[in-house]
């Protein structure tokens, strides 16, 4: 469609110039008056309208495509985030994903809205015009057909020469431009060391360096632009002179000469347009590269071809309806399949294609285990190694978690405590070994279903935008306020929530700054009460709480832990006195375990050493 619009535009240009040359020829050599020239005038007006409409249509279309592809990519990025889970945020800088999805995706816009239509125009317009000119006046046509490819060759040569150098330079430049921000951010530090006034000179020095270096880069980068302009204008001059000389000889009639001369700038226009949008297009490719890298770590296909794939897939939709609502529909699903075609997510993609409402992959797993008598979880020789690391985080780890018991997981940082939690939340699967839940292998249970059975209170719980109340019943919508308050009372959180400016309806953005670490965790405990899951994972706060807060948190925790299977990551021994079982991790292995007398031991029926902790030795 974009191609057709471009083609129509080129045809309209021919018609337009033909009518114009007829009018001028008629008035100049034919001495015709306006009434005699009415027909070419009508043709000219018609051609102007046709050409403008073609331009409008193609612009509208490329914008529409850009918008749809952008939306699809955004949704895919978010989906990717959900699919990969915390492993994703482990590897990528968290801020970068947001930046990619907001600004990076906007940069792709230039590729679709400018670079792509200009490339299409370059593929169609010069060929149509050159063919036509060859037909009506072959010597001028020859000039065009020879110079056109020549421009391309020159541009490619210069581009190749400059690209490597400029790319390297740009990297240095962006570092230099970061200097100003760095100085501003560190202004307080500079003040403290009495160095702030020296910085003004430093800023102007760095900016001056920046200017010189950038101009050096630009002097090369602009060269290709100059060659393009020169080639186009000199060729126009050649055509004009050549036509003029043949006119004198009488080898050509004025009208045709005029016509060809008018078409010549039109021939070179697509070259110039592409030259202008080339940089923006390359920026889009660079942004796209990063986005596709985030989408899948395999890079089998080049970025440009992926962008094209997405375009091809988005096109039919635009063909059908130009003013499509943003509803997710079949074509966008096709588009997404175009993008992730070669990605690791191929299987999921197939699922997505089938579902019209691009929902998360529907699951038909039902809970295959009975939780009425509580949850028993067993780690059997579980080994896990994070991607990109040298040694496993957990090595053949075996232990049991029993219903109604509090299990304390201790060990130095890096011993694998949080890996255990992540495995239990099914953020990832063990490399070898397995986890068994009430006799069922955990890998047979869908993460989504499994997680309904787990409550997780992290060290620094996150609360989402919305009110305090929204956040408390986020996992159990529709719960009445009374029930929520019952939960917060159990979690010792009701008092301080009521102390907020608007109580339960205080926006979290306003309230979060006032919460201490202990209060956050008590809120999360209230959230967990409402979720009411049989397995509780609790990450003790690292930072110290004052005595009152600690006691409140402990009371709330113990109420929540009652009758559940509880695993606590210990940092400072907060829950030590209440633990039934203490598991000590060392380099991803079980270094020791203690528990009440007669407790069934899963590790070969023996405990190593004397119990190091017991209820009696509480501090």
């Amino acid at each position: 469609m974009l191609g057709i619009a471009t083609f129509v535009g080129a045809a309209a240009a021919i018609l337009q110039m033909r009518s114009l040359s007829r009018i001028i020829d008629g008035a100049f050599l034919g001495h015709l008056d306006l009434t005699q020239l009415r027909t070419p005038f009508i043709w000219l007006s018609g051609a102007v309208c046709l050409r403008a409409s073609a331009l409008w249509l193609s612009e509208l279309q490329s914008q529409e495509i850009a918008a749809r592809v952008k939306e699809t990519i955004r949704n895919l990025l978010f989906r990717r985030l959900l699919d990969r889970g915390p492993l994703f945020t482990l590897r990528e800088k968290t801020g970068e994903l947001a930046a990619c999805s907001v600004e990076g995706v906007e940069k792709i816009d230039a590729w679709y809205a400018k670079f792509l239509p200009h490339t299409i125009a370059l593929a169609i317009v010069p060929i149509v015009l050159a063919t036509y000119v060859l037909w009506i006046d072959w010597p001028s046509g020859l000039v065009l057909t020879l110079t056109g490819p020549l421009i391309l060759v020159f541009m490619a040569l210069l581009g190749m020469m400059a690209q490597h150098k400029t790319q390297r330079q740009w990297a240095t430049l962006s570092r230099m431009s970061g200097h100003f921000l760095d100085v501003l951010q560190g202004l307080q530090t500079l003040h403290l060391f009495g160095r702030s006034s020296v910085q003004s000179a430093q800023i102007s020095r760095v900016s001056e360096q920046f200017r010189r270096a950038t101009l050096q880069v630009l002097s090369i980068a602009f060269l290709s632009g100059m060659v393009l302009e020169l080639a186009a204008s000199i060729s126009t001059a050649i055509v004009a002179v050549e036509i003029g000389l043949r006119l004198i000889e009488g080898l050509l009639d004025f009208r045709t000469g005029l016509f060809v001369l008018l078409l010549t700038p039109e021939f070179y226009l697509p070259f110039r347009q592409l030259g202008a949008s080339h940089h923006a297009g390359m920026e889009g490719v660079a942004a796209g590269e990063r986005i596709f890298e985030l989408l899948d770590h395999e890079r089998t296909v080049g970025t440009s071809s992926r962008l094209r794939e997405a375009f091809v897939a988005a096109k039919p939709e635009v063909l059908l309806n130009l003013s499509v609502r943003a509803r997710q529909s079949v074509a966008t699903a096709a588009c997404s399949s175009g993008i992730v075609l070669k990605s690791t997510a191929r299987k999921q993609c197939k699922n997505r294609k089938n579902s019209d409402e691009e929902e998360l992959v529907p699951t038909d797993w039902s809970i295959a285990f009975n939780v009425n008598n509580g949850l028993h979880v067993r780690f059997q020789n579980v080994t896990y190694q994070y991607p990109g690391t040298d040694s496993p985080a957990l090595r053949a780890l075996t232990f049991d978690l029993y219903p109604g018991r509090i299990h304390l997981l201790t060990g130095q940082s890096g011993a694998g405590k949080s890996t255990v939690i992540k495995l239990l939340l099914q953020f990832m699967q063990p490399a070898t070994g397995r986890m068994v839940v009430n006799g069922e292998s955990l890998s047979e249970i869908s993460p989504e279903v499994w997680r309904t059975q787990v409550a997780y209170v992290s060290q620094f719980p996150h609360f989402f935008e919305g009110t305090v109340l929204d956040n408390l019943r986020i996992a159990s919508p529709g719960v009445a306020l009374e029930q929520v308050r019952a939960a917060t009372r159990l979690a010792e959180a009701d008092d301080f929530i009521m102390g907020l400016p608007h109580g339960y309806s205080t926006p979290i953005s306003e309230a979060a700054g006032r919460f201490s670490g202990g209060e956050r965790q008590r809120l999360a405990i209230a959230r967990a009460f409402l979720k009411d899951s049989p397995l509780l994972l609790f990450d003790e706060p690292v930072s110290h709480l004052d005595a009152v807060t600690a006691i409140k948190l402990q009371r709330a925790f113990l109420r929540l832990a009652r009758k559940r299977t509880t695993l606590v990551i210990a940092h400072h021994g907060f829950a030590l006195s209440d633990a039934d079982v203490v598991l000590e991790l060392l380099h991803g292995q079980l270094a020791g375990a203690t528990g009440p007398p007669g407790f069934p031991w899963p590790f070969g029926g023996q405990t190593r050493g004397e119990p190091t902790y017991s209820r009696a030795s509480s501090t």
């Binding site: 947001a98 999805s101 204008s233 002179v241 006119l247 201490s516």
Partner: protein, 558 residues
Amino acid sequence: MTIRWALLQLRAHKLLLTTAIVLGTFTVLASIGLISTSGYLIARAAQMPPILDLTLAIVAVRFFGIARGAVRYGERMVSHDLTFRVLLRLRCWLYGKLESIIPNHCTHHSGDLLSRLISDVETLQNLYLRVASPLIVAGLVTCITAVGLWFLDPALAIILLCGMIMCGVVVPQMALRLAKGVGRRQVIARTRFQQYLVDSVAGLEDMLALGIERGRDREHRRVASQLTQLQSRQARISALCSLLGSVASWTTVISSLVVAIPKIQTGEISGLLLAAAAFGVLASFEAVQPLPAAFQYLEQSSQASRRIYEVIARRVCLVEQTDPLSLPEWPSFEFRNVTFCFPGSLRPAVTDISFELPFGKKMAILGPSGAGKSTIVHLLCRFADPQIGVVLLGDRPLSAYSIQAVRSQLAVVLQRPHIFNTSIRENLLLARPDAADSELMDALDKAGLTSFVKDLPQGLGTIAGSEGLRLSGGQRQRLALAQAWLKDAPVLILDEATANVDFETERRILDSVYEFSADRTLVVITHRPELLSGTDAAIRLRDGQMEELTGAEAIGER
């Protein structure tokens, strides 16, 4: 209105500015010249004159053909040079203004403010390239072509003027009006989208653990599609704008022909020039092509300069004493009924604070976050003066001394210290410029960083900061501690300085701290009771007010 000062920055580069504008105008004129002389050339040739008659026209055509590319290259170089010079001026100017303002905002969402400022400056640096130059060049080209046409026929000149105004002013302004509401809503939608994403990324673990990812995904889709719809609307407006522009320029060409043709018949206009005139009119529209973008950019620039102005307006004036006192030998500080409110904030950060900090005292400041603990450090360093009450140094207000002198007495480790984008060595040398490497290593050792630095391939020369080595929060704090040791000031202030380091390292660092501060004043801001063991007094803050001030109660905390 606010944009004026930014435009004034251009005045300092008059020569460059003039050159750039002349070159820019000539670039457009060259292409008008090329196509009109070509038109004249073939019209004259059609009359089959002796070839010599054409020589001048041929030379002109060749000249314009070559000149355009070369002049354009020169124009781009000069105008970019100008842009970077303007950037330099803007930065220095802004730095001068911000020097006194920023420390006052560091305590609040400063990262946000700063990156916005930086991007606003970057917007303004293009004020010439994208706003001033296109507007001036379009004006000049229009005038020159109109004058040229006036000699041929005044009516043609008027038609051209109308067409140019239509194309360059009316249509872009109309588009701007149409897009105004959309643009504003788009900014809001974009911010919402970004916030939603940041919220989701930060809360990813909780989101999955709570099993609410489907709902969040649906909501994300909704927010994203809202943004897309608004962007599509804006795109439709700009497409309409280019449609109207193209129609308007050709209408001008057609009208000129309609006016000119009868006059050729009467002989008022030479038919020889008809082609040249028509081509010239067509080509001169190149000058107004960048105007829609320029108007849009003008809007953005004035918003940017308004935002910068808003920040600058929040300036706090610190009066530097012209005749400062010399420092007392043993600095002792005192807060007397101090109330301080951050500019722009409604609630005072601290209210009626009084305490003494004699030399050699070891004091702890306790309290929940947001209680005003860091504000005390802020006032102690004289980043601002309290609105009520006074901070004393040796019985005289801080303002009696030079600001430099006051700060030279304090070694402060901030909660989130800034590490500059330079080598670890340079970062440390900030604190003591003449320190030898052995002294630096000694300081690093006390901060528990020796093995870390030794393991780095380039040791002290390793680049740290946002572009270099990624340091953890604890490592940053320890680096700042090393800086404090190097500064060797009589008062050491630790603002939650070990909040991000593990237990054992903290123990070791604290031992060093107590040893180091044996003959100095020590202020520890914390909420951990362990840190109190080396202090002999404590104050507790809650909502900016002092709750207690007893040595005995503080010991009870332990």
